[in-house]
Amino acid sequence: MTDPTQATAVELATALSAGEVSAREVVDAHLERIAAVDGIVAHGDVWNAKPAEELTPDQPHAFLAVTAAAARAHADDVDARRAAGEPLGPLAGVPLALKDVLTMRGAPTTCGSRMLEGWEPPYDATVTERLRAADVVVLGKTNMDEFAMGSSTENSAFGGTRNPWDLDRVPGGSSGGSASAVAGLLAPLAIGTDTGGSIRQPAALTGLVGVKPTYGTMSRYGLVAFASSLDQAGPFARTVEDAARLQSVTWGHDPRDATSVPGEVPDLLAGLQDGVAGLKVGVVRELQGEGYEPGVELVFAAALERLAGLGAEIVEVSLPHASYGLPAYYLIAPSEASSNLARFDGVRYGLRVDAPTAEEMNAATRAAGFGPEVKRRIMIGTHALSSGYYDAYYLQASKVRTLIAEDFRSAFEQVDVLVSPTSPSVAFRFGDKTADPLAMYRNDVATVPASLAGIPALSLPAGLAAAPDDPTTSLPVGLQLMAPLKRDDLMYRAAWAFEQATGFAALPTGPRAVSRSVTTQEVR
């Protein structure tokens, strides 16, 4: 194997089980590339990202912390057990980048916030546990918008993450670090979390497959909550099959999460290659047109043609309440956040700014620890839940949510899967939308309806479009596939067929792309 960092997870798993490469070699290759390109201070057991002001414009800043020693030890352990002939999981020895919103012992979990800077969680998230049980080797924790609030990763207290396709642009968010790591060949797989599009939109902007599974199928235990009724962890990968394999080892019922759906989850791999011939694909009328960049629309139209060419029956369907999704989402999510984030008070963990009384200490800590977007959402949510406004805001938004779920139910009586562009735009430049929160919120217009309904949704690369502000730069466009509750398998099946037909090589290219030549030593 010439360079493990260019391989997919399935390719790595095959080479590992054939003994062509060791887990330690695979992990070392990734650690070396991270050390070379990401702006990491590569010494000690846990490598930390440089402070934002010391980073250079060619450094993606995908990782906040790299658990180098633990990753190497885990890789060695996998190799030893493989040598001893022990049965290992299908992804054993494959590295992964974990969003810094999921707890993992042995390294800080910061959620991209000063509030939790240096906080080492006393327990592992269920997702972390399951990765460990599957012998997927966690390389480290990735950058994100503070407490997952944002669509560009610019809201991280530790500085933004760059898009490997064009280092002057954002990777999307809030899981921008995870997306940048996989797109920039720092890891073949990553876990992100998606509340209103935080996996799908960055996947679209970095040319990756990104999946928000059915709500309740990925345990939220150990996922630091932003909006509990919407948060869901999910995979990032460079291929559909890689994503399906990662989801397969991490999802399923968890008794520690009361909202976890009971019963079995479907097999994502059994029917993966069954194709789309005869499948009814619904195009959502409300999730296109005004507000979507022309380049995005062109790629989307071509994607529909390709699906039709593969034998899918394309029909237009309506989700009459989808256009209310964005305002409903931006009431429900901040409402829950205002309560979820109340625990950050300086008493038990994280930042504490001392003051004479407990109340003043709480206030001073929260004033210093939270960034402006987090404060904005706490205030919106506090207002929306307050007496006299609850009915008009939170309750009304909850009703809209029910109507949107009904819309999807009716739509799925007519079609098997739904499609739309994932994001109305391609990757934008740093600072383009930071001055206008509403412009930033509009990034989520196509992704929030599925979040509100709890249904599974996936983004995969549909092609490239010229950046509207720079015709010489081509950037990835994502196609969103949505499926009925617990039919994640159907969505993967359609995605696989599309991926095979397009042959999109999800590797960044272009004048300002992250360097692919700065790779590792040749590993045999």
């Binding site: 707890t103 909550a225 009361a258 008493v347």
Partner: protein, 493 residues
């Protein structure tokens, strides 16, 4: 104090009670931590009950079932579907800065409690107090304020123990149906007895496993309800009665002086016997209740409710009735219900003990000696079988009542390791009723007390008591008093 004379003529007292009951489930409401009282601070804690980022609550099914059971015992209706809400407020001992509670739909609604109140003339009146709701929530941690007054204000620093945080808690809210302190006290006592009968909590006020706040207002009869104050820090049934009396009189005096009552929370000062302003409720606190998105609805289908109802044991009203019918006096029947002693009573009676005697011993000497020793019946080793044995020893003349009390003390000191017969034997505590042995002692006493004997023969029969005392001294108190009397009369002639 007789009810109708508490307030000046024309005034009426209105009281509603909010009672919190900590369930004694083995584990907490949302995690697997122990609920043990009195453990080292912060030893029964985990990521869930200390509100660590990312931790999630999972409902304790047993706690919900116990709450349902208590709700049924209070004649309440069980909601077929209800939800947990978040009550948002900042306080250091509230780990998440919100309390998981219930809001618009409680687990139980529309119950009632019948209490019996003894009136000044000795008659007993039955009164019904409506129960608006019983809902589930979680307890908070405990703050310890170090330095200065021991209260938050002016403390140097605060320590927080999260052991109690997340223990299942029920809030039981009565309607404002109570019109006198005695009924308030009877309600609390009866609720405590029911909680213990259904065995969902230790219901100990001294350990805080049952806590009571009183909403008190007064009005001129026929007028609408007056402004109420909420009285906190009521640490016993007695405190409740005293505090309600004080507060009622204070309010009437204030209004008659031309003043008004503020909506406020008041603190009962047990030592000084007064209520004092704790905080003024200028506006209603906005807790921003909303459905907890970490939890799903609690469903109680009718079939499930019936399964729980089948677990209902005999309730205090029925128990008291049964005791009265068995011949136990009313005062003792009331005292027995709701205590551990009831099980010992039932056991003893099942083994053939006479009901009134068994109750009399348990409520009297057993309870008295336990209190004096500072131990619980449950840790004393005293059983129904021992009570039967003790009563039999009295019955067959082996022990006098006085000796029986000594034997009881011995059994309790040995924590039940020795039976009453074993104690009597080991300590040589047996009545001397052997006629020959006793006659010899009596003859000696008569011979030694010429003057007294002459006095008795002269008609002062009361003086025989002095001779009985002498015989008792000679036998170290073990002479059978009845037989001693008989023999003295016979010997003196």
């Amino acid at each position: 104090m007789a009810t109708d004379t508490l307030l000046p003529k024309g005034w009426e007292l209105v009281v509603g009670l909010e009672v919190h009951v900590e369930l004694h489930t083995r584990t907490k409401m949302w995690c697997g931590c122990s609920t043990e009282f009195g453990d080292e601070p912060n030893t029964n804690v985990c990521p869930v009950c200390t509100g660590q980022p990312g931790a999630l609550p999972v409902p304790n099914e047993r706690a919900i079932e116990d709450a349902t059971l208590l709700g049924l015992a209070l004649a309440g209706e069980v909601a077929e579907r209800c939800w947990f809400h978040r009550k948002n407020y900042f306080y250091p001992d509230l780990a998440k800065n919100y309390q998981i509670s219930q809001y618009d739909v409680p687990l139980i609604h529309d119950g009632h409690l019948d209490v019996e109140v003894e009136l000044a003339d000795g008659s007993v009146q039955r009164r019904r107090v409506g129960i608006e709701r019983l809902h589930m929530e979680e307890d908070t941690g405990k703050s310890l304020h170090v330095g200065d007054t021991g209260r938050l204000h002016g403390a140097d620093r605060s320590l927080i123990d999260y052991n109690r945080c997340g223990i299942p808690l029920l809030e039981i809210v009565s309607h404002p149906d109570i019109r006198d302190p005695e009924t308030a006290q009877a309600y609390l006592r009866e609720l405590q007895a029911i909680v213990r009968a259904v065995d969902v909590s230790d219901a100990r006020m001294d350990q805080g496993s049952i806590r009571c706040d009183a909403n008190v207002s007064v009005r001129r009869i026929g007028e609408p309800l007056g402004t109420r104050t909420e009285i906190k820090n009521l640490n016993s049934v007695r405190s409740l009665g005293r505090a309600v009396r004080y507060e009622a009189l204070r309010q009437v005096a204030a209004i008659e002086d031309g003043g008004t009552i503020r909506m406020e929370t008041r603190h009962w000062d047990e030592g000084r016997g007064v209520t004092e302003t704790l905080r003024v409720k200028e506006s209603v606190t906005d807790y921003r209740y909303f459905p907890d998105p970490d939890l799903v609805a609690v469903t109680s289908p009718a079939a499930h409710v019936e399964t729980v109802r089948a677990r209902l044991p005999e309730l205090p009203t029925a128990t008291r009735q049964r005791l009265l019918e068995a011949g136990v006096p009313r005062v003792q029947a009331i005292a027995l219900v709701g205590t551990d002693a009831l099980a010992v009573y039932d056991d003893a009676v099942a083994r053939g003990a006479e009901a009134a005697a068994a109750a009399n011993w348990l409520v009297g000497d057993v309870a008295g000696q336990l209190t004096a020793e500072g131990i619980e019946l449950s840790e004393s080793g005293f059983t129904g079988a021992y009570l039967v044995e003790l009563l039999a020893l009295i019955e067959d003349g082996t022990l006098s009542t006085k000796l029986a009390k000594q034997v009881l003390a011995g059994v309790l000191v040995a924590r039940g390791a020795k039976s009453p017969s074993e104690v009597a034997e080991a300590e040589g505590l047996q009545q001397v009723s052997d006629e020959g042995e006793l006659r010899a002692i009596v003859e000696q006493v008569v011979a030694d007390n010429d003057a007294t004997v002459a006095d008795i023969r002269g008609g002062n029969t009361k003086a025989i008591g002095a001779l009985v005392g002498q015989v008792m001294r000679e036998t170290r108190g073990q002479a059978d008093p009845r037989k001693t009397n008989e023999l003295l009369r016979e010997v003196i002639g």
